[in-house]
Symmetry: C2
Subunit: 295 residues, 2 copies
């Protein structure tokens, strides 16, 4: 099914479509690493118990707890990457919906050129030229929306990606450092045949390592350089706040065409977009989900 | 092939055999994540170029460089885990080779018990009891070697595992923080239709971010709480330095049996060990590969 949808992707969104697909594989790899790590953690605890050596048993059991938490963090990371991937989809959907506007404009230009060559006196030329003005206006809106969404969402997506990378890393460093403390509780002085190992003396300290790890995880909070955005005021039409309102004159375009396109009253733009995308005016899949519901 | 070998594993090493197999899957997952991440990095750079927006193009190209390095670090991590996995194998191999010594001892005890019941006057009983003393001595050596290797290598394996976790995490934090600096160079102020975006003003700063990231990676050095080991002096017979020499009396065991077992002159112990394992006295797969070659 995914490959069928891939074949339907408009040219403009093909690259991002492929990236989003590759991210799905990357996320799958992290989920798989998480599952294996958690499974190994519990196997290690079992193995330690089976050695019949109470020091190895206690240390491996607690190593298992830390390893299992390391594995959980891989899964948290994968889920955060899933959110980042969702933001890339918003750019891709806008790309998909801009494509027909480009094609429509080019098609009318072509028709005019052909007619001018074959029937230079045709009255249809005037009609097509009027249509071209509207198509150009519509496309200008679409292209502005595309650049606005692209920049805003690119920053948002990688803000999330890098924040997730840092979160996994900081938490795993804490866990691994506590793991190293645990290892130092295991005495590996070699014994001679017939010697029995003394009982494990550090059970309390080992328990304390886990408590400390839990506390560190609980107290962890992100400490990130903020990503600044100037797109937060963007309207549901994916334009700056003042754009698209009747009393604003925009770059010499006819206001009527502008607003029509901005409100997505033309069926053309919506048709080939993926089902979840609802066209320009309703930016519910893109910027302000709440605002869109009132349309 | 792996599953055939699995069926041949002695009971004692089954759990660790399975852990080592699972680690192989975990390592594969990290290798796969690395490949996907590196591929996505280059796709992102291509996509940015195709947008025709020179700010997006420059920023996405440099994001690609950082993302690719993040992916490389996943692979470095996977290779370090491969080394850790190799250390677990050393414990597993010792476990495999101790199993027959346990079986041998139990078998002789059984035979004696049976004979005492069926033919209490048999002269074979005395002979078997002598054999049992030797088997017990041999097994005591094997068990001491097993506990010595288990503790030493368990610490060594997870020392490596946690060090690798911390290395990946510290390097990825540096890369992700530089990534966030890059994002702040991209202006996402929304434009109105017909506006053209100003040229990208931060090309120099973007280049500087990459230079800083490269420098940070180059300057990185591990900063770890050391794992203490008391097993560093262990001899090639997997015993403390003084053990196994003729002038040391060990725990009431007959010295002759001790040394024989320690030198692995009995074929019994070696037979069912995996091909790469060469028995006790030669600890080449375990502790001192150099020392073993002089045997």
């Amino acid at each position: 099914m995914a490959s069928l949808r891939g074949m339907q992707q408009p040219e403009l969104s093909k690259k991002l479509f492929k990236i989003i697909k590759s991210e799905n594989h990357a996320i799958g790899a992290y989920e798989s690493a998480s599952r294996e790590r958690i499974s190994i953690a519990s196997q290690l605890s079992d193995w330690g118990e089976a050695t019949g050596d109470d020091s190895v048993s206690d240390v491996s059991d607690k190593l298992g707890v830390l390893l299992s938490e390391l594995g959980e963090q891989e899964d948290v990371f994968a889920q955060n990457l899933e959110d980042y991937r969702g933001i890339l989809k918003q750019i891709r959907n806008t790309e998909s919906s801009v494509q027909p506007s480009r094609i429509h404009k080019a098609k009318i230009s072509d028709e005019i050129a052909k007619l001018k060559y074959k029937e230079p006196e045709s009255t249809k030329i005037v009609q097509l030229e009027q249509e071209l003005v509207r198509a150009e206006a519509q496309n200008l809106v679409a292209e502005a929306q595309l650049t606005n969404i692209t920049r805003q969402k690119l920053k948002e997506a990688y803000d999330l990606h890098f924040a997730a990378t840092i979160e996994r890393a900081e938490k795993q460093i804490m866990l691994a450092r506590h793991g190293r403390r645990l290892l130092n509780l295991l005495d590996d002085t070699p014994v001679v045949p017939g010697d029995t190992r003394p009982a494990f003396e550090h059970a309390h300290q080992a328990r304390q390592v886990l408590n400390d790890a839990e506390e560190d995880l609980r107290d962890w909070a992100p400490n990130l350089e903020p990503i600044h955005s100037s797109a937060t005021e963007m309207g549901s039409n994916l334009m700056p706040p003042q754009a698209g309102t009747a009393d604003t004159s925009v770059s010499g375009q006819e206001e009527e065409s502008m607003i029509r396109a901005g409100e997505s009253s033309t069926g053309q733009l919506e048709a080939p977009a993926p089902p979840e995308h609802r066209g320009y005016g309703e930016s519910s899949t893109v910027a302000q989900p709440e605002a869109a519901s009132s349309y």
